[in-house]
């Protein structure tokens, strides 16, 4: 503790908590733009190939997609509850809720993996072996799935990082309500909610383009 305190430029914990939150939000701004470039690409190509988009969206798995969306929404709730527990200096309660959050995140990733496997089996992985009905929309379909894999893949990577981060917090919680623990949980929560928000948009973009 002491080494860290000596290095710390902060004079009081409130200042430190606010700094951490502002820093996280600034980082989320970066993330918004990082994903934003892909969102733009999606809408750009959707404008070029509206029919292809509709056709391709019909091959996504709405059931798994909806389940996953639900999972993420609930995991955001448990995350928010974990933050409350941490703030109330109850690290054990916080850890339980973090575990629940992580668990849902992990299930999300497993489902996502199942979906990927299904798509790859169906020949929807872009490239030489790409196979798509109707063949006339094969090229736009390929673009759609290129973006699908890129965007949901990037999202999944973020989830993975989130799960790792939360597990680190669970371990940290065993040391009790150490100084800064509540801030760490809070900041991790911001990140987790952000991933949720990204998915909230990815869901209609890939699963609900038009009708079923």
């Amino acid at each position: 503790m002491s080494a860290e305190a000596a290095d710390s430029p902060f004079t009081d914990p409130v200042q430190q908590r606010e700094a951490a939150r502002i820093g996280m939000w600034a980082f989320l701004g970066t993330e918004v733009m990082f994903f934003g470039a892909l969102f733009l690409t999606y809408f750009y190509d959707r404008h070029l190939y509206p029919d292809g988009w509709v056709a391709a969206s019909k091959h996504t798995d709405l059931l798994l997609g909806s389940l996953n969306t639900g999972l993420l929404l609930v995991s955001s709730l448990t995350m928010a509850l974990a933050v409350e527990a941490a703030k109330a200096r109850r690290p054990d309660a916080a850890a339980k809720r973090l575990l629940a959050t992580m668990g849902m995140g992990a299930v999300f990733l497993v489902f996502k993996g199942l979906e990927y496997a299904e798509h790859i089996r169906d020949g929807l992985w872009p490239g030489e072996s790409f196979h798509f009905e109707p063949a006339s929309l094969s090229r736009p379909g390929e673009l759609f799935y290129y973006l699908y894999f890129t965007m949901t893949g990037l999202h999944a990577l973020h989830m993975l990082a989130g799960v790792v981060w939360l597990s680190a917090l669970v371990i940290a919680s065993r040391r009790g309500a150490a100084r800064g623990f509540d801030t760490h949980v809070e900041v991790a929560g911001l990140y987790w909610h952000f991933i949720d928000v990204v998915w909230i948009f990815l869901f209609p973009m890939f699963y609900l383009v038009r009708g079923h």
Binding site: E18, R21, I22, W25, A26, L28, G29, V32, M33, G36, A37, F39, L40, F43, Y44, H47, L48, L62, S66, T69, G70, L73, V74, S76, L77, M79, A80, L81, E84, A85, K87, A88, R90, G189, L190, H193, F194, D196, V197, I200, F201, F203, P204, M205, Y207, L208, V209, R210, G211, H212
Partner: protein
Amino acid sequence: MDEHRVRTLYRVAAALLALLALTVGLSYLDLGSAGFAIALAVAAVKAMLVGWFFMELEEGVPAVWFMAGAALVWLGLLVSGTLADLFTRL
């Protein structure tokens, strides 16, 4: 723990799940091209709920609002500027 806040959190989560059900349900109706716009609008509402309650934008820390607002504005610039070109070509 702040009981009031915990209750709010549960309510928000319930609203989010309801919206999810709504948007999935709507996707079975044929709303033409408006369907996609509605689905995105529902997503925006969901995102706002998450941001406002879960991410504690409601606390109203100015610097946090500034960062969140800037990110949205800048994303808007990127998307609108580029699509302005695409939509008006030819």
